[in-house]
């Protein structure tokens, strides 16, 4: 695999601290969600991205506030990295009226329009063409906004993916296709679904830039995303960014899905030694940041998470009178 090299050298200590904070926050939030699912307090299906945190953090660090992101079923990390409110997400997962979708979405349908998160939905690959449309919209309006589609390797098995790459390349649209290749589509490994491990080659085939990066190296992800965003903004068109990573937990819920195949235990051990957070901590220690100050970040995040869980528990359920609201939008100004 010809991966783009680490961008650590060009990252400042402050940037690295901010990456570490972002990744640790996603991990701790998801570990907490995993506990809440295991205890049955949370019942909506939750798909955890533990082990993959460097990708949303690295990509979103390269974006402006008004750039848009579009996600799927495994999108807690995308939502948090782009600036979505933690309380609103936690309450959404609890199905509460204070949730980001007022309890209509749960974990799989997150939204925060003010932060450019227009929606994450679990139909595999469904938001890829929507991101293309957001990019087309930006181009027609002359805003230079960039749209990012986050999706897993399973989504590259869908027709949506190939049609969207072609359309975006054809019209040179400012869009980033970020494939979080965690090597599994639910229980099926990549090699059970494709003859070749060559997702990134779809880019060349459709005439757009394609880059593979170590998706567990946040500096490499950031650097590649920055370059792709720059190209998109100056009108040079879309990029497919394949980020190689591994999902530590199962397809859905907190368990590790060790039963899916003989290789899973070995792979998991290997990838856990390649932990994006541990790598970032190691990098920070070479820059003279003490492990105490790193640990104090985690302690603060834990407090924030417990506050979010309390907020969600104490929030009201949606009222039954809301059941049929918003099936249609109220007519807006024309």
């Amino acid at each position: 695999m010809n991966c783009q090299k680490s961008g650590a050298i060009s990252c400042s200590r402050e940037q690295l601290m901010s990456f570490l904070y972002g990744m640790q926050r996603i991990r701790l939030v998801e570990e907490r969600i995993g506990e809440l699912v295991a205890s049955r307090e949370v019942r909506t299906p939750c798909h955890l991205s533990i082990g993959q945190e460097a990708i949303p953090v690295g990509v979103c660090a390269a974006l402006n506030e008004d750039d848009t992101v579009w996600g799927g079923h495994r999108s807690h990390g995308h939502y948090l990295a782009k600036g979505g409110d933690l309380n609103a997400m936690m309450a959404e997962i609890f199905g509460k009226a204070t949730g980001c979708a007022r309890g209509r979405g749960g974990s799989m349908h997150l939204v925060a329009p003010a932060q450019g998160i227009f929606g994450t939905v679990p139909l595999v690959a469904a938001t890829i063409p929507l991101a293309v449309g957001a990019a087309l919209s930006g181009k027609l309006r002359g805003t230079h906004q960039v749209a990012v589609a986050f999706f897993g390797d399973g989504a590259t098995d869908e027709g949506h993916f190939h049609e969207s790459l072609n359309l975006a390349a054809l019209y040179r649209l400012p869009v980033l296709f970020v494939c979080e290749n965690n090597l599994y589509s639910t229980h099926l490994t990549l090699k059970e679904r494709r003859v070749k491990d060559n997702i990134v080659e779809s880019a060349a085939l459709h005439g757009l830039a394609g880059v593979t990066v170590d998706g567990n190296d946040v500096t490499a992800v950031y650097q590649a995303a920055q370059q792709a965003v720059h190209r998109a903004r100056i009108g040079e068109g879309p990029t497919l960014l394949e980020c190689r990573t591994y999902r530590w937990r199962g397809h859905v819920g907190p368990a590790a899905d060790l039963e899916v195949g003989a290789d899973r235990r070995r792979e998991l051990d290997e990838w856990q030694r390649h932990d994006p957070i541990a790598q970032c901590r190691a990098l920070l220690s070479t820059r003279g940041v003490s492990s105490d100050s790193v640990d104090s970040v985690a302690a603060k995040v834990r407090e924030e998470i417990e506050a979010a869980v309390r907020f969600a528990r104490q929030s009201p359920d949606p009222d039954e009178s809301e059941l049929l609201q918003h099936v249609y939008a109220a007519r807006r100004g024309c």
Binding site: T68, W70, A101, R102, R104, G105, H109, V111, P113, F118, G119, V121, L123, A126, T127, I128, P129, L130, A131, V132, G133, A134, A135, L136, S137, G138, L140, R141, Q145, A147, G159, H160, E163, S164, N166, L167, L170, Y171, Q325, H326, V327, Y328, A329, A330, R331, R332, C334
Partner: protein, 324 residues
């Protein structure tokens, strides 16, 4: 006012919407090509440029998804599917995405997209160039579905659809393209959800959609000569549909024939019949009749086609049946 054909009225609505609102753009397969669109989009690319009139690859998923993404982020796209059959490849973006997002995100996201689907049947084109699957989309909460049957409505409903702020399926039928009538020159709207009484009558209510509304005009003239006084309602909107107008008409006549040139089972006519039977059963003096296509794919042979499609004569026969 001046006389326009149905196709010219569609074109004029597009041109005026593109001129009026910079958020409006057109995307779809064949938007530059009369083979796909008749005269209904003629030369719009020359007038408004190819940035806003985008003739796309045959990628129903990507173009429909892109139109939806553009709508969510502030545009007012009109998507063109030259054959409804092909649009089924975009069932996910239409039924799972466009239809859901307002509800799913509690009104924080709107999807103001118009999805235009053309029914292009007959001419020995067979099963996959002929389908009229409006019922499939009318079934889905979050979508609106309109089917203009006249030039006036073709223009006014397109304008209302673009301004509506919701995903609206605009379904036109090529068998109507040459119909002519007076069409106002300016922008005007035909309200979505309102049906039109084409003829008042006392004996039987005929509710018809799209092409069958045009056929019903002929049927009603024949029946009038036989002394049968039909009230003809052109439904215009399939979803929402004008329950009040239909109920008040059937309340007066006590008899109902529903004509929809699509399959009978699970169709628009079934929905109307069930609603009337459920809500105003006491008003009915006779069983409700439906004039629909047989539950079979469209055949190719001209002889079989002739047997397959319904028209004015079938409406006449059904009206006479409910009067027996």
């Amino acid at each position: 006012m001046r006389i326009l054909t149905y196709a010219q009225a569609i074109r004029e609505a597009h041109a005026q919407l593109l001129a009026e609102d910079p958020r409006v753009f057109l995307i779809g397969q064949g938007v530059r090509n009369p083979w796909y669109a008749g005269t209904s989009l003629q030369d719009l690319d020359k007038e408004f440029g190819r940035d806003r009139v985008i003739d796309s690859p045959v990628s129903e998923n990507a173009t429909t998804g892109a139109a939806i993404g553009a709508a969510i982020t502030g545009m007012r796209p009109i998507l063109f599917h030259p054959r409804m059959d092909f649009m089924l490849l975009a069932a996910d973006p239409i039924m799972n995405q466009a239809a859901n997002w307002s509800y799913l995100f509690a009104g924080q996201v709107a999807v103001p997209v118009v999805i235009r689907a053309v029914i292009n049947r007959g001419g020995e084109q067979g099963a996959q160039h002929s389908q009229a699957v409006q019922a499939l989309f009318a079934h889905v909460p979050g979508l609106k579905v309109v089917m203009p049957a006249t030039a006036y409505d073709a223009k006014g409903l397109l304008i209302a659809a673009v301004r509506d702020g919701n995903p609206v399926l605009y379904i036109d039928d090529r068998w109507l393209y040459e119909l002519e009538e007076d069409v106002p020159e300016g922008l005007y709207e035909v309200p979505i959800g309102s049906a039109a009484i084409r003829r008042s009558g006392r004996d039987v209510t005929v509710v018809a959609t799209s092409y069958m509304a045009a056929e019903a005009v002929k049927a009603v003239a024949t029946l009038a000569q036989r002394g049968i006084d039909v009230e003809l309602i052109d439904l215009r909107s399939i979803k929402p549909w004008d329950r009040n107008l239909v109920y008040s008409s059937v309340g007066k006549t006590g008899r109902l024939v529903v004509a929809d040139a699509a399959w009978m089972s699970g169709g628009v006519a079934a929905e109307i019949a069930a609603s009337v039977a459920g809500e105003i059963f006491h008003a009915l003096k006779a069983p409700i009749a439906r004039v629909c296509l047989p539950d079979a794919p469209a055949p190719t042979s001209a002889v079989l086609e002739q047997a397959y499609y319904v028209g004015a004569e079938d409406i006449v026969a059904s009206v006479e049946k409910v009067l027996l």
